[in-house]
Amino acid sequence: MKRIYIVDDHAVMRQSYALLLQRHGALELCGEAASAEEALTQMSCVQPDLVLIDMSLPKMNGLELLGILRKQMPQLYVLMVSGHRDNVFIDGILAQGAHGYLPKELAPKQLIAAIEQILSGHIYRCDE
């Protein structure tokens, strides 16, 4: 089982991701946080394989969290999600070390496809 950690300040999104992972045989939700700060205190203990981070977080944003995690946990796969779909936005996020980017409102199947692709060592980007 691959361990997935979720960082999103919206409860409805965390619940949706959790439900989706529950229904998947090979992925396991190992923890969740509503802020970057909360994630940083928990993640080193739970040791996830992949973290899914929402760009827009209160206080420290998703990009800042990405920067810290790339230094502290270089083996960790990072999938960024946000509501934006501009290519320049996606390029900017991938340039900062994310392994994938997914616009938030895409179908659940695409989220699973993104996670599986990243876990197999590939970069995932979903252009419009």
Partner: protein, 351 residues
């Protein structure tokens, strides 16, 4: 002891210049620091640099050239105050001279130290009031941007995320139901939700472009160019953009981005252009943004305030935005019937 006033005197006539200089020396203690450029071109450069307290444009013969100098300097960033000095009352000023931004007029025949001193004092007071007004305008613009950013953030982080979450949840639900009819109905709701999400997102982007904060001006302009191409496929946009990363302050980024947006809006609404060139260049100490189109030009006003008085606020506001970040705003355009002379808008801002 007061600092001496710095005064630029533009006068081709040596005798008249000497008279004015002598009068000024009698007006002030300590005596003012006087500078006299050798040509109108040099005068324009000095006036645009805005390093003097007052600009005296004296015209023994060529009133038209001085009027043009005043107009050019003001459209290129000079804030004045400008005083015209005419040889005698016979050379009356036209209203456009004042619309060009000249603050006061004097006649050589009437000139006394007291009148000169009083007039300079008046225009300096006016200039101070204008400066305060400009500060208030800048504050208002900043406040409006902050309010828009706050609104955009609340919409993006509140209702928009909830709608996205619900749509996502419906996607999961759709996967577990077997009935084709139920799947169809769920798909219908998802589609409608997506329309609302798209509308809300466009509104959020309009209020505050998302790329501007985390990725800088170049990325934000690229994103806007992408959206523009999508909306107006008949207009070719060629962009050459230096990367600014996060080198520019938020205020400068926002000012240049809003001016860029306004330029695109003008092109769509008025220019009937088929091609737009966008250039963003960063040097050691300056950032230059140029937007050039090949559409219909327009007659440049005496000052941008003239446009505002006519209810045309776009370029007036763009000019104000440039001034608020100590920038130079320059527009080159010619109105020619049935001819695509184009318009070039350039802004230079110190980094």
């Amino acid at each position: 002891m007061n600092n001496p006033l710095a005064i630029l005197i533009v006068d081709d006539d040596d005798q008249q210049y000497a008279q004015i200089a002598a009068l000024l020396h009698r007006c002030y203690n300590p005596p003012p620091l006087l500078q006299r450029p050798n040509s109108d071109n040099e005068a324009l450069q000095i006036m645009t640099a805005q390093q003097h307290d007052v600009y005296l444009l004296s015209c023994a013969t060529n009133h038209g050239a001085r009027s043009l100098l005043a107009k050019q300097s003001l459209t290129q960033g000079c804030l004045g105050p400008i005083i015209f000095i005419q040889p005698q009352e016979a050379h009356m000023f036209t209203t456009d001279t004042f619309e060009a931004g000249v603050t006061a007029q004097l006649f050589m025949t009437d000139l006394t130290p007291a009148l000169l001193r009083r007039t300079i004092q008046d225009v300096l007071t006016q200039a101070l009031m204008q400066k305060q007004m400009r500060k208030k305008q800048a504050w208002l613009m900043d406040s409006r941007e902050q309010e828009q950013a706050r609104l955009s953030h609340r919409l993006h982080e509140g209702p928009l995320q909830d709608l996205i979450g619900m749509r996502f949840y419906l996607g999961i639900a759709s996967d577990v139901v077997d009935s084709a009819e139920a799947k169809e109905q769920l798909a219908f709701v998802q589609q409608n939700l997506q329309s609302v999400i798209d509308g809300l997102r466009s509104f959020c982007v309009e209020l505050r472009p998302p790329a501007l904060g985390p990725f800088g001006l170049e990325k934000a302009i690229r994103a806007e160019v992408g959206r523009f191409r999508h909306r107006y496929p008949g207009v070719e946009v060629i962009s050459q953009l230096d990367s600014d990363e996060l080198l520019l302050s938020t205020r400068v980024r926002l000012a240049l981005y809003r001016i860029f947006q306004q330029a695109l809006l003008n092109i769509v609404q008025h220019a009937e252009a088929t091609r737009v060139l966008v250039d963003l260049t960063l040097s050691n100490s300056m950032v230059h943004l140029t937007i050039q189109d090949n559409g219909r030009g327009f007659i440049l006003p005496e000052s941008w305030a003239v446009f505002a008085n006519e209810g045309r606020f776009g370029l007036f506001e763009a000019h104000e935005r440039a001034l608020n970040v100590a920038g130079h705003f320059h527009v080159q355009s010619v109105a020619a019937p049935n001819s695509a002379t184009g318009t070039t808008l350039s802004i230079t801002v110190p980094i």
